[in-house]
């Protein structure tokens, strides 16, 4: 039997479940329903029929409810809060609300987490840009995968070398022999030149000669001029847009002339568009190759097969297998250079993309830019370390936080939450934070990279166009980070037993193993590793800079004069310079002792075999050894009073003498390839004429028939500016038509270690960041730790513990962890640093004290971080800590 009253009650109960209806609403609707039913019954319907009809007339309860809700909210919300959209999982809004509430409530932790992650991610972006930049050198050329550089390797002999250069006839001959080769470009760099336009005169260090096909093979578009013909004619030159502005300002440089070394007139045939991409080819001027002739006195021509000084690039036809082609080169060498060369040399094709990062080849970095694969690895490792530390912070703090979240978990579980749902919730929260940090990092990476670049003097500014890589990658990284760092806390928290948690018991106190412990140890291991690493790198760089090079590098000025002038008028110029009261002595030399030496086979009739050893050669003149303060073991240096010295005097260094195995080398015969021959007049102690990355090589010195362009001047210590003014005056009297160009030798030599310096700066910067993030984490951790033990602290104080004792008690455990981290970090650092040191032929002794010191620093910093919190906790009046519930 249909019971109207009961049915209506049932209907009302259903309405009450819908939060849109409030009591008054329901009663109003009920009154309406009753009226309607009454009315319908008058029409002769039964109770049941009338009820059903009235309900139908009333409309769908859900949507009517929505209308009720709408009248009540201020905002124009399309659907009420509880009516979740189909694509949003149930409870998601609640999770977000609770999540945000938590972030807001625990601002300290939120700050540490987001700050740490963001910082780490910013560093990652910057490092990522740097690495990407280093790895994508020279990729912008069309067909860059078909372009190769020829490298020339010696085999089967002691001191065999691998050159990044080949001889000038090699390229054209290859082009003629092999149809697989489509184009060849030769490059010849010149140390320095004076260029002049009207009254503007500068020393230039970026002058190169190149074949006409240069503009065809490489994508350096011309802003002005015709790319096809620009380098065809003799004495034509193209210049970069910066140089065009430097010499010609607003004028159009095309067709204008530049004077090279006061002799040759060059005609400008092209201006390059600004080069924005990264390329190892570093130049300011390109002169047509036809204009190139060997410097005076060089016993070679551009047809000399033995003159291995030319960078040669080839472009292969599409589909050519470089290995197959390279295999054919042996016959080529035999035909063109003879059986002996064919057997003992290998001509390689080095892919263009590998050129930049291969700095080991001889001549590879004298005029071209090179990178360092090791540093790329190191920077990537640092980025990974930083991320790891930030992640560990995240995991640590989230687990520590779980104490407060415990109640929430308990309530949720009681109300029927599944563990999987809770895991999803907590994972979601950490992913949210990670993504937020990724977003912040992306926003801040541009200004930060600018700051870092200017700080370190390095070019790795994050550009907007990089974001098309960075955004998707960092979205994925953010997601992954959130997952990884959130998983452990999520698993821990979701496993809480509601009964225990709601009573206030969280962890089983008996479990000694605590992943937080492991994470803190790992963090500080990394921090100590980096601290010790940066100390050692610093020590090594200092060691290199302060090392006795075998000559006195202080108070040594190098005056440079291009062309033949200095050599021709050496005696006079030297006399005049030495007459300056600030000058102690002066002597002419070839290179700047920076490793940019020639190297030729050295023969001797007096040697056991007369096969010829490849040795470095160096041109020096009267007064050079005295000025440099190079010591002799035997014999003497070049001296005006011996008439034969300038023709046949040979000075060896110790290493060279050792190769020949002579007990008394004086008077022994030496033939320097086809350049000169003579007798040994002296043996110097080994001095460094190249970077300390390499061991001192055998060196043969003589007064060369070629030009020397550097005058080494030893000056008295005193006021720098007085000395320079006075020296410039003397210079102008002596050689009025040459600009006064000087540099300090020690500064120039330091440039060889610039890459190391930068590496040091970078490592230091990131070390500081690492420590900062690690300490922030520690700070957060100890805060929670103290919170957990507030009562204990109060009771201890009441029972008479001093603040100091309590502070010690609180930080004891963490100090112990940092100490443990030391023991893990030391051997790893030792091992890593040992392999880094392999970069240097001369290595500093690493003292164990350095390790101890870095450990101590980590300990101190950690202790200071904690002591603020723990002392504060220890000083609190127990009344408050005990009353607090």
């Amino acid at each position: 039997m249909f019971d109207l009253e009961k049915t209506i009650k049932e209907w009302k109960r259903k309405l009450r479940k819908n939060p849109a209806y409030e009591d008054g609403d329901i009663e109003e609707l009920e009154s309406h329903l009753l009226d309607e039913i009454e009315h319908l019954k008058e029409d002769g319907l039964s109770n049941e029929e009338a009820f059903l009809k009235a309900i139908e007339e009333m409309g769908e309860l859900e949507s009517v409810g929505s209308e009720f809700y709408k009248t009540r909210t201020k905002k124009n919300r399309p659907t009420p809060l509880w009516q979740h959209k189909k694509w949003i999982p149930i409870l998601l809004p609640n999770y977000i609300k609770i999540g945000l509430r938590n972030l807001n409530h625990d601002r300290g932790n939120t700050f540490i987490n987001i700050f740490g992650l963001t910082t780490a991610l910013i560093c990652c972006i910057v490092i990522f840009t740097y690495v990407k930049q280093e790895l994508t050198f020279d990729r912008f050329h069309e067909n860059s995968d078909q372009i190769y550089r020829l490298t020339f390797q010696e085999i089967n002999r002691p001191g065999a070398r691998h050159f990044a250069t080949t001889s000038p006839p090699m390229g054209p001959a290859l082009l003629e022999t092999y149809p697989e080769i489509e184009e060849v470009v030769r490059f010849r760099f010149v140390d320095s030149n004076i260029l002049q336009h009207q009254d503007q005169q500068f020393y230039e260090y970026g002058v190169a000669y190149a074949d006409p096909s240069f503009l065809k093979m490489f994508n350096f578009p011309l802003e002005k001029g015709n790319a096809i013909t620009a380098l065809n004619d003799i004495n034509s030159v193209i210049l970069t847009s910066e140089m065009a502005e430097k010499y010609f300002g607003e004028e159009n440089p095309i067709g204008k002339s530049l004077t090279l070394d006061n002799i040759t007139t060059l005609t400008v045939t092209g201006v390059l568009a600004p080069i924005k991409q990264n390329t190892h080819l570093h130049f300011d001027f390109i002169i047509s190759f036809q204009s190139f002739s060997p410097p005076p006195g060089y016993p070679v021509t551009v047809e000399s097969w033995g003159w291995v000084s030319f960078y040669t690039y080839v472009r292969l036809r599409e589909g050519t297998n470089p290995d197959e082609l390279q295999a054919k080169f042996k016959d080529f060498l035999v035909i063109n250079m003879g059986e002996d060369v064919g057997e003992n040399r290998i001509l390689h094709l080095q892919p263009l993309s590998e050129v930049y990062l291969n700095s080991d080849l001889r001549n590879a970095s004298t005029h071209l830019l090179t990178g360092n694969r090791g540093y790329i690895w190191a920077m990537s490792a640092v980025a990974a370390f930083l991320l790891l530390i930030a992640c560990f912070n995240f995991m640590n703090l989230s687990t520590a936080q779980s104490i407060r979240r415990g109640k929430e978990v308990g309530v949720r579980k009681t109300l029927g939450a599944q563990r999987s749902g809770l895991i999803r919730q907590f994972l979601g929260e950490s992913i949210l934070i990670a993504l937020l940090s990724a977003l912040l990092a992306i926003i801040f990476s541009i200004p930060f990279s600018k700051f870092v670049s200017s700080l370190l003097g390095m070019e790795f500014i994050v550009r907007l166009e990089d974001f098309k890589f960075i955004i998707p990658i960092f979205f994925v990284i953010g997601l992954g980070l959130g997952m990884i760092s959130g998983l452990y806390p999520a698993l821990v928290m979701s496993a809480f037993k509601p009964v225990k948690v709601l009573k206030g018991h969280f962890f089983n106190k008996k479990t000694r193993f605590d992943i937080r412990t492991v994470l803190v140890v790992a963090q500080f291991t990394i921090a100590i590793l980096l601290i010790a690493g940066s100390f050692i790198i610093r020590q090594q760089i200092q060691f290199i800079q302060e090392r006795n090079l075998g000559f006195e590098q202080d108070q040594l000025i190098v005056l440079h004069m291009d062309g033949q002038e200095l050599t021709r008028r050496y005696d006079l110029i030297r006399q005049q310079i030495e007459s300056n009261p600030h000058v102690i002595s002066a002597g002419m030399g070839g290179g700047l002792l920076d490793g940019d030496n020639g190297s030729v086979p050295i023969f001797s009739r007096d040697a056991e075999d007369n096969e010829g050893y490849p040795m470095n050669i160096y041109g020096a003149h009267f007064g050079f050894f005295e000025t440099m303060g190079i010591e002799f073991i035997q014999g003497r240096g070049f001296d005006e009073s011996y008439s034969t010295d300038s023709v046949s005097g040979i000075v060896l260094n110790e290493a060279a003498a050792k190769i020949f195995g002579w007990e008394n080398p004086l008077g022994k015969h030496i033939q320097v390839d086809q350049i000169t021959e003579g007798q040994v007049i002296g043996v110097t102690k080994n001095f460094n004429f190249a970077s300390l990355h390499r061991e001192i090589q055998p060196l043969v010195m003589f007064i060369p028939p070629t030009n020397m362009e550097n005058l080494f001047v030893r000056v008295r210590a005193g006021t720098f500016s007085d000395m320079l003014t006075s020296l410039e005056q003397t210079w102008e009297e002596a050689v009025p038509d040459f600009p006064f160009h000087f540099r300090f030798l020690d500064e120039h030599l330091d440039e060889m270690y610039q890459a190391d310096q930068r590496f040091f700066k970078l490592v230091t910067a990131f070390t500081v960041l690492t420590i900062l993030i690690a300490c922030l984490g520690l700070y957060g951790l100890i805060s929670h730790f103290i919170l957990q033990r507030t009562k204990e602290i109060g009771i201890r104080k009441v029972l008479g513990a001093t603040a100091l004792q309590i502070a010690f008690l609180l930080s004891k455990k963490f100090i112990l962890l940092v100490a443990i981290a030391n023991f893990i970090a030391w051997p790893i650092t030792w091992h890593l640093m040992k392999s880094w040191m392999q970069n240097f032929a001369y290595q500093t002794d690493t003292n164990f004290l350095i390790y101890l010191l870095s450990g101590l620093i980590a300990l101190t910093v950690a202790w200071l971080t904690m002591s603020y919190k723990s002392i504060k906790a220890a000083l609190i009046n127990p009344i408050y800590s005990l009353r607090n519930e």
Partner: protein, 118 residues
């Protein structure tokens, strides 16, 4: 009489002035108002009964009408609504608007457009 179903938008726009007009004649309660609307419109305006109440509540919230609970002689509780000064104002404004629109349509859709008479 044939049925014209009004579009949702037009319904929404016209309900408020309609309710105000009914209430202007004197206070009334939900069920009665719905009966009035049905009667007056001859079935042109069809909505589910429940939908009326949110509109009434909205009107009340906006201050156009006020309400009170009254217990009838048979002991049935009913919520009576009556129009306020604000409501009268709104009704007047709405009326002016609707009439002006009506006039326009009447003019252009009328049997003998005025411009044809000249």
């Amino acid at each position: 009489m044939y049925l014209i179903m009004l579009s949702k938008e037009l319904m929404a726009a016209s309900t408020r002035p309609l309710l105000l007009t009914i209430l202007k004649r004197g206070e009334s309660y939900g069920y009665q108002i719905i009966q009035d609307v049905k009667h007056l419109s001859g079935g042109t305006l069809e909505w589910s009964d429940g939908m009326l109440y949110p509109v009434l509540h909205k009107l009340q919230k906006d201050g156009c009408i006020q309400s009170k609970w009254v217990v009838s002689e048979e002991g049935r509780k009913r919520k009576y609504y009556s129009i306020t000064e604000t409501g009268l104002g709104e009704l007047q404004a709405a009326k002016a608007q609707w009439l002006s629109i009506h006039e326009v349509f009447a003019k252009i859709w009328g049997p003998t457009p005025q411009w044809a008479m000249e």
